[in-house]
């Protein structure tokens, strides 16, 4: 995932970083000495010129970086929790002794059995968003689940010992 980032100093103003995407578009960030940041998007026909120059405040830049870095989801989910009454989010750790360690997510049949969804898995410091049924759990994974209280408790029970009913 190494991408070539070109850095150019702008004397008296600051620094510009830019990246050429796989699709051939050039995107850059102008960091001003004052702390202001501009997001610039370059013209397709004239790659030297920027068609868009969007000034961002510190907070806006941070929010955008979060979105692009994909770690925003948890924050969004907690926002969702406040919006929709009765819908909850929980992070559930998979215990080392769980029967599902090393087995695919599909085996848990969590959604069919509890109607709660596993929307993400946190492994080490990475976020795996919307894991598919083939996704294999490892010990120490933390599962992010969205659902009702009952559903969440059900998933906790499944992951802990295998069967919610029994």
């Amino acid at each position: 995932m190494r991408v070539r980032v070109e850095q150019t100093t702008l004397p008296g103003i600051g620094v510009r970083h830019d990246v050429v995407t796989e699709s051939g578009r050039r995107v850059g960030v102008v960091s001003h000495r004052t702390g202001r940041r501009d997001l610039v998007i370059y013209d397709e026909e004239d790659p030297d010129a920027s068609t868009e120059d969007i000034p961002l405040t510190d907070d806006e830049a941070e929010a955008l970086a979060d979105i692009l870095g994909a770690s925003l989801m948890l924050g969004q989910l907690s926002g969702l929790r406040q919006q929709a009454a009765g819908l909850l989010t929980e992070q559930i750790a998979i215990p080392a002794g769980s029967t599902y360690v090393g087995r695919p997510l599909g085996d848990t049949k969590a959604r069919t059995r509890t109607s709660a969804s596993i929307v993400a898995v946190l492994r080490d410091r990475d976020v795996i968003a919307s894991p598919g049924p083939q996704f294999r759990f490892e010990a120490g994974d933390v599962v992010v689940v969205v659902g009702t209280r009952k559903g969440l408790d059900g998933v906790t029970a499944i992951l802990a010992d295998g069967d919610p009913a029994g």
Binding site: T8, T9, L10, P11, G12, I13, R16, D18, G28, V30, R33, D38, V40, Y42, D46, P47, D48, A49, S50, E52, D53
Partner: protein, 401 residues
């Protein structure tokens, strides 16, 4: 009326007027410099309403204005930016100097103003206005453009060249002759090099004299040091402006950052005073006779600036539209040209029409420059460029050798 009372009324009324003018100019996206000059012309010698009591105030304020303009310019750059740029941009800077200083010098000689005036006019036509151009680039959303570093490095080289040109000019104007000029230049080169080396190697040394956290002490300390060094530099015939510029370069890190914020309002105030003072010192009745020469000079040197930018951008592999943007963006002359003219005007024996010519010249370039800089963004210009490159391709196909 008491002298002080009149002074207060005059200064107050004029500053109030400048405030209104500045607001108007910003509404139209123009630099306020031309309006300040106009205000000065209207209230100066031979103007509509000559001031009586406040001239001395404006004279001293203008001195401080130049010093603040230069120290802020120095604060904008770090020493490593200046030196790092030097090698890469030196050829562009050389083209810039040759193409733009020579027409000014030739023009003065053609008018029969003598070689001292030629040196002065060379400087006036040479230096673009860093302040106006940086603002135009930001206004047009071109800070991210790939030709922008080219434009900025030409400006950096010009500013650095001024550190050598101004002491030389000061010596020439003081009539110290070839040897005096040579000594002044040698002192200037030595000082600039020492300051750059010290600032790069021991950047924090000078800055540790000040505390970045105590605003009042920092303001007084930096302002005091700047005025002191500027004064000493003037005493040594090295030009106060250069002394101030070097103080700006020598300061670095948070001290420089905070000093910039603290000094900015002061700079705005005294720089406005400086432009007004220059207008005050110029008799508007002198302008009509030099208007045509000024226009001719402006047309010639704006064209040479376009060539400068075009060539500089081409050197680093910018495509044709970007070359035009660089060229057309470099045209406005401003504060530096007025600083140079201001130095000259105070000298006895220099052609009196020079101030009027400089005023008219700066007015023309600073008003038309930012407008012409927009040309590459218009569809008709892009179409014209596309048509030209298509025609060139056709001729290349017709004659493959």
């Amino acid at each position: 009326m008491h002298h002080t009372t009149t002074l207060l009324i005059e200064v107050g009324a004029l500053l109030l007027l400048l405030g209104l003018l500045g607001r108007i100019s910003r509404r139209f996206g123009l630099s306020p410099i031309p309006l300040y000059l106009f205000a000065g012309l209207a209230f100066g010698h031979g103007g509509l309403l000559p001031l009586s009591a406040s001239e001395e105030f404006f004279a001293v304020g203008a001195e401080i204005g130049v010093i603040l303009l230069l120290v802020m310019l120095g604060l904008e750059y770090t020493a490593s930016e200046l030196v790092g740029n030097l090698r890469a941009a030196a050829p562009a800077g050389l083209v810039d100097g040759v193409l733009n200083a020579l027409p000014g010098a030739a023009f003065a000689l053609l008018l029969g103003w003598g070689w001292v005036a030629a040196v002065v006019l060379a400087g006036i036509t040479w230096v673009s206005s860093s302040g106006v151009i940086a603002k135009v680039l930001a206004d047009l959303g071109r800070l991210g453009n790939r030709e922008t570093p080219v434009i900025l490095s030409v400006l950096v080289i010009e500013d650095l060249a001024m550190a050598l040109y101004l002491p030389l000019l000061t010596a020439v104007l003081a009539g110290t002759g070839l040897i005096g000029g040579g000594i002044a230049l040698a002192v200037a080169v030595f000082t600039v090099v020492v300051v750059l080396v010290v600032a790069i190697r021991y950047g924090n040394l000078i800055s540790t004299m000040f505390s970045a956290k105590d605003p009042e002490a920092l303001l007084l300390g930096v302002l005091g040091l700047t005025l002191l060094v500027a004064g000493v530099a003037a005493q040594l015939n090295v030009s106060a402006a250069v002394g101030a510029f070097l103080v700006g370069i020598a300061l670095s890190g948070p001290v420089a950052h905070n000093a910039t914020e603290l000094l900015s309002p002061l700079r705005d105030l005294f720089a406005a005073v400086f432009f007004v003072f220059f207008g005050l010192a110029t008799d508007p009745r002198d302008i009509p006779p030099v208007l045509l020469p000024a226009l001719a000079l402006a047309v010639i040197t704006m064209a040479t600036k376009v060539v400068t930018g075009y060539v500089a951008a081409k050197r680093v592999g910018i495509a044709v539209p970007g070359r035009w943007r660089a060229g057309l963006g470099l045209m406005p002359r401003g504060e530096f040209s007025i600083v140079i003219a201001g130095l000259a005007v105070a000298t006895p024996g220099i052609e009196p029409q020079l101030a009027a010519l400089a005023t008219a010249y700066v007015l023309i370039t600073v008003v038309s420059g930012p407008m012409l800089a927009r040309i590459p963004d218009y569809p008709w210009f892009k179409k014209w460029l596309a048509g030209r490159s298509a025609a060139r391709r056709r001729t290349a196909l017709a004659a493959p050798d």
